[in-house]
């Protein structure tokens, strides 16, 4: 088993989950209606909980404690896709990002449920129900708002357009990907992206939303290698403000 390759996979997944969970948690108490506030917060908690489970696996592979990894690294040590660090914007963008990311996340975990790396397969099987709800939530919202009224349609389409190339960046190739595929640990980003495209296309069609035409596709890469927008630095600093206030302390 190639530990470096597995760590690379775990880091990008865990960082994705932590950063989107953190972003989505910013809506808690400020959502568009009480009921949705509660639902969105639950999913943010799920994401952060899932990221923690993956940092635990990393710790078992010799990395530092989950808290240390999550709360003391600098932005350029994070491997999340840039899509997930973008500011929340309005609810249209938050929902579209949630939709685009969660479809990918569900497929990724679905594939990993059969991974030859059993600890990860176990986590993947455990979170199946959470992800099913997340995708159900995302599909329902995107379908309804995509086709509700002119304003909601326009907003959702604009959010989709804005998010699109960042979303393609989720499937950036990693250095050790071939090893993961060869060792049946993970199916690889290309086949993940194919499945993802077919799943989201079906929902977007129902929503009356269109994917930007393929000649404009230009994946925003770099996140997996620690290259980030100007938004991640402040996010990480904010997230770890208290933790770093007294690094010797137990909080």
């Amino acid at each position: 088993m190639n530990t470096e390759a597995i760590k690379e996979l775990l880091y990008k997944m865990a960082d994705d989950l932590l950063i989107i969970g953190h972003r989505n948690s910013e809506w808690t108490g400020l959502g568009p209606i009480l009921e949705e506030d509660i639902s969105f917060s639950s999913m943010a908690q799920d994401k952060i909980g899932q990221s923690q489970a993956l940092y635990v696996l990393l710790h078992e592979l010799g990395e530092q404690e989950p808290d240390t990894v999550a709360f003391t690294r600098n932005a350029n040590q994070f491997h999340n896709a840039q899509l997930l660090e973008l500011p929340n914007g309005e609810y249209d963008f938050s929902l579209i990002r949630h939709f685009l990311y969660d479809h990918a996340d569900q497929l990724r975990f679905e594939a990993l449920a059969n991974s030859s790396y059993e600890p990860l397969a176990k986590v993947a099987r455990k979170v199946k129900g959470e992800l099913k709800y997340h995708v159900f939530h995302a599909n329902t919202w995107v379908t309804k708002l995509g086709s509700a009224n002119a304003e909601s349609h326009a907003r959702m389409q604009a959010a989709l357009n804005h998010a699109w190339n960042y979303a393609l960046g989720m499937f950036e190739h990693s250095t050790h990907e071939d090893i993961l595929i060869a060792e049946n640990i993970f199916i690889g980003e290309d086949s993940l992206q194919d499945k993802w495209l077919s799943n989201i296309s079906a929902v977007l069609l129902k929503a009356g939303l269109s994917i930007p035409s393929s000649d404009t596709w230009n994946p925003v890469l770099g996140g997996r290698k620690g290259l980030h927008t100007e938004h991640l630095g402040p996010l990480v600093e904010e997230m770890s403000e208290v933790f770093r206030y007294d690094p010797t302390a137990e909080w």
């Binding site: 910013e26 009921e35 159900f136």
Partner: protein
């Protein structure tokens, strides 16, 4: 501009005198009554309501507002306006006269007859 201790509030760049139009009727949508089943085999029970614009979203909301601590295996939602109820004013319709032994198990005392019959043998 509001200067807050909450970085989220600062990011939202909120004016202190941001007067808004009042919410209109039905801004919060209509309500659905939520029923949940604690585990298979149990009856569904009423647990409360959610405001939702349609049934699918009522399910999505009901699941988190009433089932987020894993205390349910199934939920139903039904529009409040589709529920028919008796009136509390008419509670007395449930007060039936007690002389209805014919539909209670205790209303049937066969042993008396059997014992009498056996004695006479």
């Amino acid at each position: 501009m509001i200067i807050s201790l909450d970085p989220r509030v600062n990011r939202a760049a909120i004016e202190a005198d941001n007067n808004i139009e009042p919410l209109k009727d039905l801004d919060q949508w209509e309500t659905y009554e939520v029923f949940h089943q604690k585990r298979r085999g149990d009856q569904h029970m009423h647990v409360g309501i959610v405001h939702a614009p349609n049934a699918e979203m009522a399910l999505i909301f009901g699941k988190e507002q009433f089932g987020r601590r894993g205390l349910s295996v199934n939920i139903w939602v039904v529009k409040t306006s589709d529920v028919f109820t008796t009136e509390y004013d008419d509670s007395d319709i449930f007060e039936t006269v007690p002389e209805k032994q014919y539909r209670e198990a205790g209303g049937y005392k066969v042993m008396d007859k059997i014992n009498k019959y056996k004695k006479g043998l």
